[in-house]
Subunit: 646 residues, 2 copies
């Protein structure tokens, strides 16, 4: 795909720079909107195209066939609770689809998609009750009363996603019917959960960042105030204790007192995101610092090499520090999305290449791993070590979580497909930012950037790159204006030996941020050369689960070995890697040198160390590696990211 | 404690050799009863004493205060469902207490205990309905109908434990009120679940072995037939699918077709135990062979070095092969009990020292780990690596599962304390067996053995040993008869270099079984010297979670390092062991040589392998080790069994 032939036309008019997911009123960096940054091809361009042409329709089809969209019709027509389908939080998937559609319409207007979007909005709007409440699972005769199960009911969570969809629409197309619905929902929430109302919170954070964004869109300060109430109540043990403990929904310790992200990983990142939003809007530096410190600790101790978070299947939660087993990695796709949301907010608030590094790592190795190349099946969990060969799920049936299989078309809890869709549709907004003196590139993709600095200097850039296939990023000044400003480029933490070419001069640049300040004229070129060659990575020795193992990373991509690539389809558990020989690339494929040892056939798996079972040294073989995000796309296989060293 | 001063008097009359938990009508070995084997002191004698003097009363007290015993009164008095307390399966804890009391009364009659036993039986009996049904959670107005939730209701499971209690009583004291209750329950089950009845099974196996034992006690063949129906139905997908999959309750594949133990570990071992019982009583060699093969595979691939099974918290289940993370070991105490039940049955049916090895390993390192030295608090799960310092649970409150704390007095699901109690009270029955030509010693403890071979030869043995403190086991022929017979002694698989002294001759004996056949006269002595010195153990390389680590085993005991023993209370995660120096023993304590490395303080836990973080080599220290079953008895600590090698 090239930009010229397939990129859709830019929207004629876009409010506020074309919309972006997060629009803080202050902070270190100003996010650019979908009208200011467009991805024009490459790895992410292809993902956006598949998302637009396949995933959105796939999700819409499954929401219809599962009856989750029909729930709204049943509500409007008085057929609830009889005709209610799906789990308590099923409404939220419709809202996340609407959000994804809104971003996609902002990215690339399309009459058919616009029609479908409006049709769904009309069905949602018809289900809203006179006082603004809108949930298909509670409150009617025969249903549980409203707010009778704040721990597990997900009412406010669903409202939060509705509001986020409306925010996306308001920012990309202006106020519409959905924005009106969201305002009435938010007003109902303020009336019900204010200081004189129910002094509690939802078991799943999400309303918090949503209310701050709705405040940013509408200027209605009561929404911000309500977000503050929710954020300050949580952690004071307002919810019931549950088997997983109150840390499961972060109700154990107030957000500003916590020292690390903990509990359910999606809840934790959504909550922290709302906390950053509140801190920024209220200039609460202490709160911002607390969240940044919690997040830093989780990055240092509770994060997989893929950027994935949440190692526990039991409660979809962070484990203890350094408990990061590859073969029981939960690493939920939605937690990856939540991590991107959180680090993006911290980047905007504080700057810091490490946040953009984490966003990149997570996008390539978690969010991009979830969908199939066709965009119609997904991983909910993202294991780093598949011991039992994957199986092919029934293409016509929702599965629990596809933990030990190939990607599945839909889930009983289907939060991940819609989360991937809304992230991909808004992805351009994460690529670059601006400040008073220039533009910062955070993610590298073929792109067009057109913005104006506060003092009126126009900045127009075209980015050309085959990244991450190779590491050369060429930034060309476009437009017609000449001006002095600063171009900042992220140098990823792994990119030791990166080279910047500016003004014809080559210089080695260190990981972090490199700045070029000069008078830029149209046609000027700045070139960044990132060393994407594959390299061995080892873990902190406290990550016991991967002791004696190496991973291979190539640029931002984590690689893995799959049995389909091994001689005779050998199980990956026999792999041993010779780390004295660097990984090699040949014809665009990476491989390492090693052996495949035969599996012992013992009756007891523990032996005196003094008498280890002897075996002849097997022959050296080349072990091909593929990007982790591409695994399980070539039939059933076993797979591992962390490879035992010889 | 010595035998002479504190051992209780032997019961005056004991039916059938004093009772034993498993009484097959055929098989390689004949189990001895509590009237034939008595443990007179040592490690297990102390455990039995604490069990008798503290644990039984502790359990009874908690059953009262939680209202689980009161459920029976409420049933009899028509106060259900209003006054129902506890989970669906709460009745079973009362039955397991009764079973433990019955064994204890068989081991050591006690008038007060007898009175308490009878009082509880009377309360249970009063709750039985006219048709034999007896469950406090189902079937009354306002309760779910009987058998409306076979997947999770645990009705037949509770009946199974009731029957097991009655079997224990019948075998140690003869028929009583409880045996009558159990017969009526079993008759009700046969009437309800026969070929013309509900063609399904219980979500939790337990009724199956219970019905076979009741058949063995009563001779009523319909109980055996009903057990056969249950065992043959399971695996044909008679239960609903659940989130964990049908393998959770072994309803995925018929027992005779399965290749490995899988799903919920307690369910799996109880079911397989029932399968062995059925196979033995019906001479179904194919079924027996299938279960033995499944079990062998689980031992080889799904068992912790402690003998613990079930690595998953999520569903209390076996993980995939070799997924045995120490820090997320579930290793439920009850699964350890189930494993002992299963391997004991396989030993009786087939012989084989490896089964007794596994029983020993599991008893010392799982079952004995659960209770505190005082016998009044327990582990439900048995982690092999405690990263977060243990905390002290509220001594006055039931906790979920005490996964990350010191032992707790009671649990919301409190299956483990009663399972430990019934196992300890009947422990002598697992120590020795007989066959046509002699006696086999399987577990080493100070003991008296008095039995008669089928042809009338009396065998009387006194066992003197401080095992496992040291490895010398002295077997002295007691009584007055001289006869020719065979004494078999188990040589554990780890005991390389064991020595047998018989007839004054020393000979090295290999792991497995050593037999001494001769004319034995009173006073004759056979001496076995087992090398219990501590040794390093390594794992199959496919157990990724412990790559590069060693465990230390001393005799049958797995040892561990605890932070309370480290300089400055250092976290165990800094330990590195020098495996070039053998573990040493001094003054009865074991230690290894190693270092405590400082914890790195990084912002990202993965690094290029070419640039590992450097640190000066820390000083060598002695690292004390304690038996794993003793951990967390000296205050909060971190702990690990598997120690990274330098």
């Amino acid at each position: 795909m090239t930009h010229d032939t397939t990129a859709p036309p830019r929207p004629a008019t876009v409010p506020d720079g074309g919309g972006r997911p997060v629009a803080p009123s202050s902070g270190r960096l100003r996010p650019l909107g979908l009208g200011e940054v467009r991805i024009t091809g490459g790895f992410w361009g292809r993902r956006q195209e598949v998302n637009a042409t396949a995933t959105l329709a796939h999700i819409e089809r499954w929401l219809e066939r599962e009856g989750w969209l029909g729930n709204f019709d049943a509500a409007a027509e008085g057929r609830l609770p009889e005709d209610r389908r799906g789990r308590e939080f099923a409404d939220s998937e419709t809202y996340k689809l609407l959000e994804a559609m809104a971003w996609e319409l902002g990215r690339a207007p399309d009459a058919d998609l616009e029609r479908r979007y409006r049709a769904i909005v009309a069905r949602v709007a018809a289900a809203q009750e006179p006082d603004g409440y809108l949930h298909t699972h509670f409150g009617r005769p025969g249903q549980a009363p409203r707010y009778s199960d704040l721990e597990w009911g997900h009412e406010l969570y669903c409202f939060g996603h509705l509001v986020q969809a409306a925010v996306a629409r308001a920012r990309t197309a202006g106020e519409d019917e959905l924005v009106g619905v969201a305002r009435r929902v938010a007003d109902h929430v303020c009336a019900t959960f204010g200081d004189d109302g129910i002094r509690s919170v939802c078991g799943h954070a999400e309303i918090e960042p949503a209310l701050v964004e709705l405040y940013r869109v509408t200027g209605e300060r009561r929404y911000l105030e309500q977000a503050r109430l929710f954020l300050e109540r949580r952690g004071t043990q307002v919810l019931d204790d549950v088997e997983f403990g109150r840390s499961y929904f972060q109700d154990d310790v107030p957000l500003r007192d916590a020292t690390v992200l903990r509990g359910h990983a999606v809840r934790a990142t959504y909550l922290a995101s709302g906390g950053v939003d509140l801190a920024v809007e209220t200039a609460d530096d202490a709160l911002l610092a607390a969240i940044a410190a919690q997040t830093a600790r989780a990055v240092a101790r509770r994060t997989y090499v893929t950027g994935g978070i949440g190692s526990r299947h039991q409660d979809e939660a962070f484990g203890d520090d350094f408990v990061l087993p590859p073969d029981r990695a939960y690493s939920e796709t939605c937690a990856g999305v939540g991590s991107v949301m959180l680090h993006w907010r911290l980047l905007l608030a504080q700057g810091g290449a490490h946040h953009a590094d984490l966003v990149e790592r997570t996008l390539y190795n978690v969010v991009a791993t979830s969908p199939s190349p066709q965009g119609t099946s997904f991983y909910y969990t993202n294991t780093l070590h598949q011991r039992v060969p994957t199986t092919v799920p029934d293409a016509d049936r929702a599965v629990p979580r596809a933990a030990s299989s190939m990607r599945a078309p839909w889930f009983a809890v289907s939060c991940c497909p819609t989360n991937v869709a809304r992230t991909f549709a808004s992805l351009a907004a994460y690529a670059a930012t601006a400040d008073d003196d220039g533009v910062q590139l955070h993610q590298y993709a073929p792109a067009e950037i057109r913005t104006t600095l506060p003092d009126g200097r126009a900045v127009a850039l075209d980015v050309a790159t085959r990244y991450p296939e190779d590491g050369v990023v060429v930034v060309t000044v476009a437009g017609e204006a000449t001006a002095t400003w600063t171009l900042s480029l992220r140098v990823p933490a792994w990119a030791h030996g990166a080279v910047l070419v500016a003004d014809g001069e080559r210089s080695e640049v260190a990981p972090g941020t490199v700045e070029v300040r000069r008078e830029f004229a149209p046609g000027d070129e700045v070139r960044l050369e990132l060393p994407v060659e594959p390299r061995f990575v080892v873990a902190d020795p406290r990550v016991d689960a991967v002791r004696g193992c190496v991973a291979v990373q190539r640029g931002p991509e984590v690689l893995c070995a799959e049995s389909v690539d091994l001689p005779g389809g050998a199980h990956v558990d026999g792999l041993r890697v010779d780390t004295s020989a660097a990984p090699v690339e040949r014809d665009g494929r990476t491989s390492v040198r090693g052996t495949v040892v035969p599996a012992p056939d013992d009756d007891w798996p523990y032996h005196d160390a003094s008498a280890p079972p002897g075996a002849p040294a097997p022959a050296t073989v080349e072990i091909p590696l593929v990007p982790y995000h591409d695994w399980a796309t070539r039939g059933p296989s076993t797979m591992r990211v962390w490879l035992p060293a010889l």
